[in-house]
Amino acid sequence: MKNNKDQLSELYRQQAQDKAPEQLNQSVLNIAAKKSEQFAGKNTQTHFFGQLIPFEKSHWLGVGSACCVMILSLSILVPMTQTPLHQSQSVENSHATVSASERILKQRSELYTQKTETMFDQVMDADQSPAIKATATLSTAPVKVSAQKRIAQSQRSKPTLSTIAPKSRSFSAPSNLPKEEIATEQDMIMSDSVLVNPAMESSSLADQYMPATQSPRTAAQWLKIINERLAAKDFESARLAVEDFSRDYPDYEQPENWKVWLHTD
Protein backbone atom coordinates (compact mmCIF):
# COMPACT_ATOMS: atom_id res chain seq x y z
CA MET A 1 0.00 0.00 0.00
CA LYS A 2 2.84 2.30 0.85
CA ASN A 3 4.47 1.59 -2.49
CA ASN A 4 1.21 2.34 -4.22
CA LYS A 5 0.95 5.63 -2.36
CA ASP A 6 4.51 6.68 -3.17
CA GLN A 7 4.18 5.67 -6.81
CA LEU A 8 0.98 7.65 -7.23
CA SER A 9 2.48 10.70 -5.54
CA GLU A 10 5.54 10.50 -7.75
CA LEU A 11 3.37 10.11 -10.80
CA TYR A 12 1.27 13.09 -9.76
CA ARG A 13 4.39 15.25 -9.26
CA GLN A 14 5.62 14.27 -12.69
CA GLN A 15 2.40 14.90 -14.49
CA ALA A 16 0.70 17.58 -12.46
CA GLN A 17 2.88 20.48 -13.54
CA ASP A 18 0.18 22.67 -14.97
CA LYS A 19 0.52 26.28 -14.11
CA ALA A 20 -2.12 28.94 -14.00
CA PRO A 21 -2.35 30.67 -17.38
CA GLU A 22 -0.95 34.17 -17.61
CA GLN A 23 -4.32 35.44 -18.72
CA LEU A 24 -5.83 34.14 -15.50
CA ASN A 25 -3.06 35.76 -13.49
CA GLN A 26 -3.57 39.15 -15.11
CA SER A 27 -7.29 38.93 -14.69
CA VAL A 28 -7.12 38.05 -10.99
CA LEU A 29 -4.45 40.65 -10.25
CA ASN A 30 -6.49 43.32 -11.99
CA ILE A 31 -9.47 42.48 -9.82
CA ALA A 32 -7.27 42.58 -6.76
CA ALA A 33 -5.74 45.91 -7.79
CA LYS A 34 -9.18 47.49 -8.27
CA LYS A 35 -10.22 46.25 -4.88
CA SER A 36 -7.04 47.60 -3.39
CA GLU A 37 -7.76 51.01 -4.90
CA GLN A 38 -11.21 50.91 -3.36
CA PHE A 39 -9.61 50.19 0.00
CA ALA A 40 -7.19 53.02 -0.53
CA GLY A 41 -10.07 55.33 -1.38
CA LYS A 42 -11.93 54.31 1.75
CA ASN A 43 -8.96 54.39 4.06
CA THR A 44 -7.37 57.50 2.62
CA GLN A 45 -8.57 61.02 3.16
CA THR A 46 -6.81 63.77 1.32
CA HIS A 47 -5.08 66.54 3.15
CA PHE A 48 -7.02 69.78 3.24
CA PHE A 49 -4.03 71.68 1.86
CA GLY A 50 -4.70 70.12 -1.51
CA GLN A 51 -4.08 66.40 -1.80
CA LEU A 52 -0.37 66.80 -1.30
CA ILE A 53 -0.06 64.50 1.67
CA PRO A 54 -2.34 61.47 1.77
CA PHE A 55 -3.36 60.68 5.31
CA GLU A 56 -4.65 57.29 6.22
CA LYS A 57 -7.24 56.80 8.92
CA SER A 58 -4.62 55.57 11.30
CA HIS A 59 -2.62 58.77 10.72
CA TRP A 60 -5.65 60.91 11.45
CA LEU A 61 -6.28 58.89 14.59
CA GLY A 62 -2.71 59.55 15.65
CA VAL A 63 -2.97 63.26 14.92
CA GLY A 64 -6.30 63.45 16.72
CA SER A 65 -4.89 61.66 19.74
CA ALA A 66 -1.92 64.00 19.83
CA CYS A 67 -4.22 67.02 19.64
CA CYS A 68 -6.36 65.67 22.47
CA VAL A 69 -3.29 65.13 24.61
CA MET A 70 -2.07 68.66 23.87
CA ILE A 71 -5.44 70.19 24.70
CA LEU A 72 -5.65 68.23 27.93
CA SER A 73 -2.12 69.20 28.84
CA LEU A 74 -2.83 72.87 28.16
CA SER A 75 -6.09 72.75 30.10
CA ILE A 76 -4.15 71.37 33.06
CA LEU A 77 -1.04 73.48 32.75
CA VAL A 78 -2.55 76.89 31.91
CA PRO A 79 -4.50 77.28 35.18
CA MET A 80 -1.36 76.19 37.03
CA THR A 81 0.84 78.67 35.24
CA GLN A 82 -1.56 81.60 35.15
CA THR A 83 -1.64 82.29 38.89
CA PRO A 84 2.10 82.18 39.36
CA LEU A 85 2.43 84.33 36.27
CA HIS A 86 0.20 87.01 37.72
CA GLN A 87 1.89 86.62 41.02
CA SER A 88 5.27 86.90 39.46
CA GLN A 89 4.13 89.98 37.55
CA SER A 90 2.87 91.59 40.71
CA VAL A 91 6.02 90.51 42.47
CA GLU A 92 8.02 92.01 39.66
CA ASN A 93 6.02 95.20 39.91
CA SER A 94 6.49 95.28 43.64
CA HIS A 95 10.15 94.56 43.15
CA ALA A 96 10.30 97.39 40.69
CA THR A 97 8.53 99.67 43.15
CA VAL A 98 10.70 98.50 45.99
CA SER A 99 13.82 98.83 43.96
CA ALA A 100 12.79 102.33 42.92
CA SER A 101 12.17 103.31 46.50
CA GLU A 102 15.34 101.60 47.54
CA ARG A 103 17.16 103.54 44.89
CA ILE A 104 15.70 106.80 46.12
CA LEU A 105 16.49 105.94 49.72
CA LYS A 106 19.96 104.88 48.76
CA GLN A 107 20.49 108.09 46.83
CA ARG A 108 19.21 110.11 49.75
CA SER A 109 21.30 108.13 52.17
CA GLU A 110 24.37 108.70 50.06
CA LEU A 111 23.46 112.35 49.76
CA TYR A 112 23.02 112.70 53.48
CA THR A 113 26.19 110.80 54.14
CA GLN A 114 28.06 113.08 51.79
CA LYS A 115 26.46 116.13 53.35
CA THR A 116 27.07 114.90 56.83
CA GLU A 117 30.67 114.18 56.03
CA THR A 118 30.98 117.56 54.38
CA MET A 119 29.40 119.25 57.33
CA PHE A 120 31.49 117.28 59.72
CA ASP A 121 34.59 118.34 57.86
CA GLN A 122 33.33 121.87 57.83
CA VAL A 123 32.68 121.79 61.54
CA MET A 124 36.10 120.33 62.17
CA ASP A 125 37.69 122.96 60.01
CA ALA A 126 35.44 125.76 61.13
CA ASP A 127 37.70 126.91 63.92
CA GLN A 128 40.80 126.72 61.75
CA SER A 129 39.74 128.41 58.55
CA PRO A 130 36.53 130.40 58.16
CA ALA A 131 37.38 130.91 54.48
CA ILE A 132 37.37 127.18 53.84
CA LYS A 133 34.07 126.98 55.69
CA ALA A 134 32.58 129.62 53.45
CA THR A 135 33.82 127.77 50.39
CA ALA A 136 32.35 124.53 51.69
CA THR A 137 29.07 126.27 52.32
CA LEU A 138 29.05 127.59 48.78
CA SER A 139 29.99 124.24 47.33
CA THR A 140 27.03 122.64 49.07
CA ALA A 141 24.65 125.34 47.99
CA PRO A 142 22.17 123.06 46.20
CA VAL A 143 22.03 120.79 49.19
CA LYS A 144 21.53 123.80 51.41
CA VAL A 145 18.60 124.98 49.33
CA SER A 146 16.85 121.65 49.53
CA ALA A 147 17.59 121.47 53.20
CA GLN A 148 16.11 124.92 53.68
CA LYS A 149 12.99 123.84 51.91
CA ARG A 150 12.67 120.81 54.13
CA ILE A 151 13.23 123.04 57.14
CA ALA A 152 10.52 125.38 55.94
CA GLN A 153 8.14 122.44 55.56
CA SER A 154 8.99 121.11 58.98
CA GLN A 155 8.64 124.58 60.45
CA ARG A 156 5.12 124.76 59.16
CA SER A 157 4.23 121.57 60.97
CA LYS A 158 6.40 122.25 64.01
CA PRO A 159 7.14 125.93 64.51
CA THR A 160 9.90 125.34 67.08
CA LEU A 161 11.79 122.83 64.98
CA SER A 162 14.07 125.56 63.72
CA THR A 163 15.70 125.74 67.10
CA ILE A 164 19.24 124.54 67.12
CA ALA A 165 20.65 121.59 68.93
CA PRO A 166 23.01 122.41 71.83
CA LYS A 167 26.02 120.89 70.02
CA SER A 168 25.61 123.26 67.11
CA ARG A 169 26.09 126.08 69.48
CA SER A 170 29.65 125.10 69.98
CA PHE A 171 30.73 126.14 66.51
CA SER A 172 28.35 129.00 65.91
CA ALA A 173 30.05 131.32 68.36
CA PRO A 174 33.59 131.42 66.97
CA SER A 175 32.50 131.75 63.38
CA ASN A 176 33.45 134.91 61.55
CA LEU A 177 30.79 134.51 58.93
CA PRO A 178 27.73 136.74 58.89
CA LYS A 179 25.11 135.69 61.34
CA GLU A 180 22.50 134.95 58.65
CA GLU A 181 24.75 132.54 56.81
CA ILE A 182 25.76 130.86 60.00
CA ALA A 183 22.15 130.57 60.99
CA THR A 184 21.24 129.07 57.65
CA GLU A 185 24.09 126.63 57.92
CA GLN A 186 23.02 125.70 61.40
CA ASP A 187 19.49 125.23 60.22
CA MET A 188 20.70 123.00 57.45
CA ILE A 189 22.70 120.88 59.84
CA MET A 190 19.77 120.76 62.18
CA SER A 191 17.39 119.81 59.45
CA ASP A 192 19.74 117.13 58.20
CA SER A 193 20.19 115.73 61.65
CA VAL A 194 16.47 115.78 62.14
CA LEU A 195 15.98 113.97 58.86
CA VAL A 196 18.60 111.42 59.72
CA ASN A 197 17.29 111.08 63.25
CA PRO A 198 13.62 112.06 63.40
CA ALA A 199 13.61 111.52 67.13
CA MET A 200 15.24 114.90 67.43
CA GLU A 201 12.01 116.50 66.31
CA SER A 202 10.39 115.63 69.59
CA SER A 203 13.23 116.98 71.67
CA SER A 204 11.94 119.33 74.34
CA LEU A 205 15.19 121.23 74.21
CA ALA A 206 14.79 121.94 70.54
CA ASP A 207 11.18 122.91 71.09
CA GLN A 208 11.87 125.34 73.86
CA TYR A 209 15.26 126.82 73.13
CA MET A 210 15.49 129.66 70.64
CA PRO A 211 18.86 131.00 69.62
CA ALA A 212 19.52 134.67 70.25
CA THR A 213 20.67 135.15 66.70
CA GLN A 214 17.27 134.36 65.29
CA SER A 215 15.04 136.05 67.82
CA PRO A 216 16.74 138.38 70.26
CA ARG A 217 15.16 138.22 73.63
CA THR A 218 14.84 140.70 76.35
CA ALA A 219 16.59 140.13 79.66
CA ALA A 220 13.27 139.24 81.24
CA GLN A 221 12.65 136.60 78.60
CA TRP A 222 16.11 135.13 79.16
CA LEU A 223 15.60 135.05 82.85
CA LYS A 224 12.27 133.36 82.45
CA ILE A 225 13.75 130.72 80.11
CA ILE A 226 16.70 130.08 82.39
CA ASN A 227 14.50 129.81 85.46
CA GLU A 228 12.24 127.36 83.66
CA ARG A 229 15.26 125.24 82.74
CA LEU A 230 16.46 125.28 86.32
CA ALA A 231 13.01 124.46 87.65
CA ALA A 232 12.91 121.55 85.23
CA LYS A 233 16.42 120.54 86.36
CA ASP A 234 17.58 120.78 82.74
CA PHE A 235 20.89 122.24 83.75
CA GLU A 236 22.63 121.67 80.43
CA SER A 237 20.04 123.61 78.52
CA ALA A 238 19.95 126.20 81.24
CA ARG A 239 23.72 126.57 81.09
CA LEU A 240 23.63 127.12 77.33
CA ALA A 241 20.86 129.64 77.76
CA VAL A 242 22.89 131.42 80.43
CA GLU A 243 25.86 131.56 78.09
CA ASP A 244 23.74 133.09 75.36
CA PHE A 245 22.15 135.42 77.84
CA SER A 246 25.58 136.46 79.12
CA ARG A 247 26.76 137.11 75.58
CA ASP A 248 23.73 139.24 74.79
CA TYR A 249 23.81 140.94 78.17
CA PRO A 250 27.41 140.84 79.35
CA ASP A 251 26.76 143.47 82.01
CA TYR A 252 24.15 141.39 83.72
CA GLU A 253 25.52 139.92 86.89
CA GLN A 254 24.51 136.32 87.23
CA PRO A 255 22.91 135.17 90.45
CA GLU A 256 25.01 133.04 92.75
CA ASN A 257 22.74 130.03 92.44
CA TRP A 258 23.32 130.03 88.67
CA LYS A 259 27.03 129.87 89.19
CA VAL A 260 26.61 127.03 91.68
CA TRP A 261 24.22 125.04 89.60
CA LEU A 262 25.50 125.72 86.17
CA HIS A 263 29.20 126.27 86.75
CA THR A 264 29.22 129.18 84.37
CA ASP A 265 32.16 131.04 85.83
Binding site: M1, S9, Q15, A16, A20, V28, L29, I31, A32, A33
Partner: protein, 198 residues
Protein backbone atom coordinates in the same frame (compact mmCIF):
# COMPACT_ATOMS: atom_id res chain seq x y z
CA UNK B 1 14.44 40.70 -5.43
CA UNK B 2 14.53 43.58 -3.04
CA UNK B 3 14.71 43.29 0.69
CA UNK B 4 11.10 44.34 1.05
CA UNK B 5 9.93 41.71 -1.40
CA UNK B 6 12.03 39.08 0.37
CA UNK B 7 10.47 40.02 3.68
CA UNK B 8 7.04 39.81 2.07
CA UNK B 9 7.71 36.24 0.97
CA UNK B 10 8.64 35.32 4.53
CA UNK B 11 5.33 36.52 5.89
CA UNK B 12 2.57 34.09 6.67
CA UNK B 13 -0.46 33.78 4.46
CA UNK B 14 -2.65 35.28 7.13
CA UNK B 15 -0.49 38.37 7.68
CA UNK B 16 -0.32 38.92 3.93
CA UNK B 17 -4.08 38.71 3.70
CA UNK B 18 -4.49 41.17 6.55
CA UNK B 19 -2.01 43.49 4.86
CA UNK B 20 -4.03 43.31 1.67
CA UNK B 21 -7.10 43.96 3.75
CA UNK B 22 -5.36 47.17 4.86
CA UNK B 23 -4.85 48.12 1.20
CA UNK B 24 -1.42 46.68 0.35
CA UNK B 25 -1.73 45.22 -3.10
CA UNK B 26 1.79 43.79 -3.06
CA UNK B 27 0.79 41.45 -0.24
CA UNK B 28 -1.91 39.96 -2.38
CA UNK B 29 0.55 39.47 -5.21
CA UNK B 30 2.77 37.38 -2.96
CA UNK B 31 -0.20 35.39 -1.74
CA UNK B 32 -1.49 34.82 -5.25
CA UNK B 33 1.89 33.55 -6.45
CA UNK B 34 1.89 30.99 -3.65
CA UNK B 35 -1.41 29.35 -4.58
CA UNK B 36 -2.29 30.26 -8.12
CA UNK B 37 -0.91 27.05 -9.66
CA UNK B 38 -2.19 24.60 -7.03
CA UNK B 39 -5.66 26.14 -7.20
CA UNK B 40 -5.65 26.02 -10.95
CA UNK B 41 -4.60 22.36 -10.91
CA UNK B 42 -7.28 21.57 -8.37
CA UNK B 43 -9.93 22.71 -10.81
CA UNK B 44 -8.27 21.38 -13.93
CA UNK B 45 -7.86 17.84 -12.65
CA UNK B 46 -11.42 17.82 -11.47
CA UNK B 47 -12.46 18.65 -14.98
CA UNK B 48 -9.88 16.44 -16.68
CA UNK B 49 -12.55 14.34 -18.37
CA UNK B 50 -14.12 17.39 -19.92
CA UNK B 51 -12.89 18.73 -23.24
CA UNK B 52 -13.37 22.24 -21.84
CA UNK B 53 -11.67 21.25 -18.60
CA UNK B 54 -8.88 23.82 -18.84
CA UNK B 55 -11.31 26.60 -19.65
CA UNK B 56 -13.60 25.55 -16.83
CA UNK B 57 -10.64 25.37 -14.49
CA UNK B 58 -9.58 28.88 -15.45
CA UNK B 59 -13.08 30.23 -14.89
CA UNK B 60 -13.42 28.44 -11.60
CA UNK B 61 -10.03 29.67 -10.40
CA UNK B 62 -10.89 33.26 -11.31
CA UNK B 63 -14.25 32.97 -9.58
CA UNK B 64 -12.56 31.63 -6.49
CA UNK B 65 -9.95 34.39 -6.36
CA UNK B 66 -12.63 36.99 -7.06
CA UNK B 67 -14.66 35.66 -4.17
CA UNK B 68 -11.62 35.88 -1.90
CA UNK B 69 -10.92 39.45 -3.04
CA UNK B 70 -14.51 40.61 -2.71
CA UNK B 71 -14.83 39.19 0.77
CA UNK B 72 -11.50 40.47 1.98
CA UNK B 73 -13.16 43.05 4.29
CA UNK B 74 -14.74 40.20 6.21
CA UNK B 75 -11.62 38.07 6.37
CA UNK B 76 -10.50 37.09 9.84
CA UNK B 77 -7.32 35.17 10.51
CA UNK B 78 -9.07 32.53 12.57
CA UNK B 79 -8.02 29.69 10.23
CA UNK B 80 -5.30 29.03 7.70
CA UNK B 81 -5.68 31.04 4.56
CA UNK B 82 -4.88 27.96 2.45
CA UNK B 83 -7.81 26.11 4.00
CA UNK B 84 -10.04 29.13 3.51
CA UNK B 85 -9.02 29.45 -0.14
CA UNK B 86 -9.67 25.82 -1.01
CA UNK B 87 -12.93 25.74 0.91
CA UNK B 88 -14.14 28.52 -1.33
CA UNK B 89 -12.74 26.60 -4.30
CA UNK B 90 -14.58 23.45 -3.32
CA UNK B 91 -17.82 25.36 -2.98
CA UNK B 92 -17.27 26.84 -6.43
CA UNK B 93 -16.67 23.37 -7.80
CA UNK B 94 -19.84 22.00 -6.24
CA UNK B 95 -21.78 24.92 -7.71
CA UNK B 96 -20.19 24.17 -11.08
CA UNK B 97 -21.18 20.51 -11.00
CA UNK B 98 -24.68 21.32 -9.94
CA UNK B 99 -25.00 23.85 -12.71
CA UNK B 100 -23.85 21.51 -15.44
CA UNK B 101 -25.16 18.24 -13.99
CA UNK B 102 -21.75 16.63 -13.73
CA UNK B 103 -22.16 15.79 -10.07
CA UNK B 104 -24.77 13.11 -10.68
CA UNK B 105 -22.93 11.69 -13.64
CA UNK B 106 -19.90 10.73 -11.61
CA UNK B 107 -20.06 7.42 -9.85
CA UNK B 108 -19.35 7.40 -6.17
CA UNK B 109 -17.76 4.00 -6.12
CA UNK B 110 -15.38 1.89 -8.07
CA UNK B 111 -16.96 -0.40 -10.67
CA UNK B 112 -15.95 -2.22 -13.78
CA UNK B 113 -18.32 -0.20 -15.90
CA UNK B 114 -16.21 2.84 -15.45
CA UNK B 115 -13.13 1.05 -16.65
CA UNK B 116 -14.95 -0.28 -19.65
CA UNK B 117 -16.18 3.16 -20.52
CA UNK B 118 -12.67 4.43 -20.25
CA UNK B 119 -11.38 1.75 -22.58
CA UNK B 120 -14.07 2.56 -25.09
CA UNK B 121 -13.20 6.24 -24.84
CA UNK B 122 -9.53 5.70 -25.47
CA UNK B 123 -10.17 3.33 -28.35
CA UNK B 124 -12.13 6.00 -30.15
CA UNK B 125 -9.37 8.65 -29.83
CA UNK B 126 -6.70 9.28 -32.44
CA UNK B 127 -3.22 7.92 -31.84
CA UNK B 128 -1.73 11.40 -31.21
CA UNK B 129 -4.31 12.04 -28.60
CA UNK B 130 -3.66 8.59 -27.21
CA UNK B 131 -0.04 9.54 -26.83
CA UNK B 132 -0.97 12.61 -24.86
CA UNK B 133 -3.30 10.60 -22.73
CA UNK B 134 -0.60 8.05 -22.19
CA UNK B 135 1.68 10.75 -20.96
CA UNK B 136 -0.94 11.93 -18.49
CA UNK B 137 -2.53 8.63 -17.51
CA UNK B 138 -2.91 9.54 -13.91
CA UNK B 139 -4.65 12.80 -14.59
CA UNK B 140 -6.87 11.13 -17.11
CA UNK B 141 -7.87 8.48 -14.61
CA UNK B 142 -8.59 11.06 -11.96
CA UNK B 143 -11.67 12.05 -13.84
CA UNK B 144 -13.02 8.56 -13.28
CA UNK B 145 -12.81 8.88 -9.51
CA UNK B 146 -15.79 9.98 -7.51
CA UNK B 147 -15.60 13.70 -6.91
CA UNK B 148 -14.97 13.45 -3.17
CA UNK B 149 -12.19 10.90 -3.65
CA UNK B 150 -10.73 12.92 -6.50
CA UNK B 151 -10.86 16.08 -4.43
CA UNK B 152 -9.22 14.44 -1.45
CA UNK B 153 -6.52 12.93 -3.63
CA UNK B 154 -5.71 16.17 -5.46
CA UNK B 155 -5.58 18.20 -2.27
CA UNK B 156 -3.38 15.61 -0.63
CA UNK B 157 -0.97 15.64 -3.56
CA UNK B 158 -1.00 19.47 -3.53
CA UNK B 159 0.42 19.40 -0.06
CA UNK B 160 -2.58 19.55 2.23
CA UNK B 161 -2.70 17.50 5.40
CA UNK B 162 -5.57 15.17 6.18
CA UNK B 163 -6.86 17.60 8.77
CA UNK B 164 -6.77 20.47 6.28
CA UNK B 165 -8.58 18.41 3.66
CA UNK B 166 -11.14 17.46 6.30
CA UNK B 167 -11.60 21.11 7.13
CA UNK B 168 -11.99 22.06 3.48
CA UNK B 169 -14.38 19.22 2.77
CA UNK B 170 -16.28 19.79 6.01
CA UNK B 171 -15.94 16.16 7.11
CA UNK B 172 -13.88 14.41 9.75
CA UNK B 173 -10.36 13.18 9.16
CA UNK B 174 -11.34 9.50 9.14
CA UNK B 175 -13.62 10.10 6.20
CA UNK B 176 -10.79 11.82 4.35
CA UNK B 177 -8.45 8.93 5.10
CA UNK B 178 -11.04 6.51 3.74
CA UNK B 179 -11.57 8.60 0.63
CA UNK B 180 -7.86 8.78 0.05
CA UNK B 181 -7.52 5.04 0.43
CA UNK B 182 -10.33 4.35 -2.04
CA UNK B 183 -8.95 6.91 -4.45
CA UNK B 184 -5.51 5.33 -4.53
CA UNK B 185 -6.87 1.83 -4.95
CA UNK B 186 -9.10 2.95 -7.78
CA UNK B 187 -6.35 4.86 -9.51
CA UNK B 188 -4.04 1.87 -9.26
CA UNK B 189 -6.63 -0.33 -10.88
CA UNK B 190 -7.37 2.22 -13.55
CA UNK B 191 -3.70 2.75 -14.33
CA UNK B 192 -3.09 -0.98 -14.45
CA UNK B 193 -6.03 -1.47 -16.76
CA UNK B 194 -4.81 1.41 -18.92
CA UNK B 195 -1.31 -0.04 -19.16
CA UNK B 196 -2.74 -3.40 -20.10
CA UNK B 197 -4.83 -1.73 -22.71
CA UNK B 198 -1.91 0.32 -23.95
Amino acid sequence: MGLLATLQTLKSDESLMLAYQAGKFSSFEVLYKRYKDSLYRFFKYHCAGNSQGAAHAEDLAQDTWAAIINRVEHYQATAKFKTYLFTVARNKLIDFYRRYGHLENHCDSFDDEAIDNDRQYRKSQPSEQEQQLHQQQLLRQLDKLPIDQRQAFILKEEGFSVAEIASISDVNTETIKSRLRYARTRLKQLLTAAEVQL
